[in-house]
Symmetry: C2
Subunit: 386 residues, 2 copies
């Protein structure tokens, strides 16, 4: 039988389980007698153009195991904007290296790349398959993306812990900034920190709703009078009523933008306007890099979609992404249907209205019910006498 090589490429920002999908890809590919070398593109799409490939089929079991607990991406990534010419060039490179199976692991932008690479390879026997990944959970057509459950677990745990700290010495308003610029899925998951529906977070503000400064200050003041310590979770991407970010971008260079810190801005606002001590908490990149908060379920699902992508490519599937769909029934179970890549390309899945309360300062019970299974292992149970 003719053997061919496989290429795995990472695109965009990492998640806590991106390397777990890589683990899934490598272990599945190693078990196939139709795959020879398992190339990793070092440094994302740019790595393909540089022909910077590393054969990972030679990895030991022990090194493979480390992938499951390594944050970031062990093979690098990139945010390089590819040109038409680049796509054609890639097709030639695949030929040169006897690469028949190409897997791209990434978010919306990467799925767009996936479609364009497949298009550039349409006259050749090359199978391009997408593996989903994003902490933001904004990939369309799937229930949730690998990476989200760990980010959700992180924010829920951090909020519960900061809540315990603030309860111990209730002297300030804490503004925690969560990842997710356009979609509020991570911010919303902070609600899972509550025990029997009580405690931190006391307020949640999502990017899907226009942020009303006055309503925010009213909410904070009322809760501060009542509790002394208040924990607020906000999305890094809060926008005003005309859709402008409440903190303007402070760095902009092509697609690379960096906004000021919403948490710092809002803590300052509470201090100036209400005269109440307030502080900002911005876990930032820890929200996707914390290994202690990696969700076991997320890791398993990330491995699974990696494996399924290899199987799909071997089965001659092309221009598809491995999806995650919840199977019906009481118990949480998933299926991994293949989704035509054009259905996911560049479409952004936001938090639907039904998951946000009328005042726009909390999530609904329906959101919590749907999100809870993703955390699976319960959060630690704290004890208090005060």
């Amino acid at each position: 039988m003719d053997k061919h090589n496989l290429l795995i490429v990472h695109g965009g920002g990492p998640t806590a389980v991106l390397n777990s999908s890589l683990y899934g890809v490598i272990t599945e590919a190693k078990s196939s007698d139709r795959i020879d070398k398992i190339y990793a593109s070092i440094g994302g799409s740019e790595g393909i153009l540089r022909e910077s490939f590393k054969d990972l089929s030679v990895l030991t079991e022990s090194d493979l195991g480390k992938l499951l607990h390594t944050p970031g991406t062990a093979i690098g990534s990139s945010r390089y904007a590819l040109t038409e010419e680049d796509y054609c060039h890639m097709a030639d490179i695949f030929l040169k290296y006897n690469i028949k199976y190409v897997l791209f692991n990434g978010g919306n932008g990467t799925m767009d790349t996936c479609g364009k690479v497949q298009e550039a390879c349409k006259d050749r026997e090359i199978y391009v398959v997408g593996i989903p990944k994003t902490v933001d959970n904004d990939i369309a057509s799937i229930d949730h993306a690998p990476g989200y459950a760990s980010a959700a677990r992180f924010i829920a745990t951090a909020t519960a812990e900061i809540g315990a700290d603030v309860r111990a010495l209730p002297i300030h308003v804490c503004i925690i900034e969560a990842m997710g610029r356009n979609a509020g899925w991570i911010t919303a998951a902070s609600a899972l920190a509550r025990k029997d529906g009580k405690g931190a977070p006391h307020l949640i503000y999502l990017p899907e709703r226009a942020f009303d400064e006055e309503a925010f200050l009213e909410d904070v003041e009322r809760l501060y009078q009542e509790l002394g310590g208040v924990v607020v979770v906000v999305s890094e991407g809060l926008k005003d009523s005309v859709g402008n970010p409440i903190v303007p971008p402070i760095f902009q260079q092509g697609r690379s933008v960096y906004y000021g810190d919403v948490s710092t801005h809002l803590a300052g606002l509470v201090i100036r306007r209400l005269g109440i001590k307030a502080r900002s908490e911005k876990p930032g990149l820890s929200g996707r890099a914390s290994m202690a908060n990696q969700s076991g379920l997320d890791r398993e699902e990330a491995i699974l979609v990696g494996r399924e992508a290899v199987k799909a490519a071997l089965a001659g599937q092309a221009a598809v992404m491995v999806g995650i769909r919840r199977a019906g029934g009481e118990e949480y179970r998933i299926e991994t249907p293949l989704i035509p890549i054009e259905k996911v390309m560049l479409e952004e899945k936001k938090l639907p209205e039904k998951f946000i309360n009328p005042r726009g300062n909390d999530v609904t019970e329906e959101f919590i019910r749907g999100c809870r299974p993703l955390l699976r292992e319960p959060l630690p149970d704290f004890i208090h006498f005060n």
Copy 2:
């Protein structure tokens, strides 16, 4: 035999193991036939004045166990500034409740309270003993305080994880803000993130050295040219050459002060002056509340000093704090000498010069050697091919 009651009081901000010391106090006191009720003052020193006591001798084993993994303080705390009159009032309250043993768990400010309470009780048979605690590690006369090892473990882990994230997609300068306003112990511990002395953090700036903006920008630019991604860890309390905080206080009310975010300020500076994308990371309260980063050694030592404080009070010791001293020898071992409270009252232990490199942008090998045993369990071992 006459039985008396014991009172435990928490002061100041929490640590990851403050409740572990409480566990030590309760379990030791339960084992003594000379102690009847184990009162906790709910809400720190203010709780004493309000006579807000809760008897914890009735706790079940299961509830006691939860204390070991609960952040904050399960009995509350306070930062109330006590008056002369308050101290006299306290002495009467102790009499009223048959309290003979009084334990204060806290940092420098609380040890000062300890001394003054003992003074107010000098004509009565009351034994006041201090238990040390601080994430900042700034208590004089001891090797390190319970709470520090967990805060050190947290910053080292977060820095290693953020380092892996930045290495995966090296497009920015990350400024991580560490706790410790006047003492750089926590900031310094980020150096433990390095593997074989390499990788993040690439730069460390401590509050003991005047912060030189120009030297900082030079360092960042040079490393950015070389690496693409740069991870910098800074103390929240960086000061300029005349001792003023580089970010002015934005809230001030009596002893309660809140400064702006140094990480936000420095990220903005890098963007404006160097035109390089930079972002801030401020784990904030997670640095002392993260249970996943609680150090096992720290937990054990926190339990130990709690137990020793009960033993000291029962032995008739007064106006002493339980210390931690490293015993000599190759292996890490500690002793817990009793230290006269006046030796620790309000004195702040800063990072000595020998632990800071000449340029003031890193720690020395000597610091790393001394700090490493406190983390005990090794940090996770990440794998990279890029």
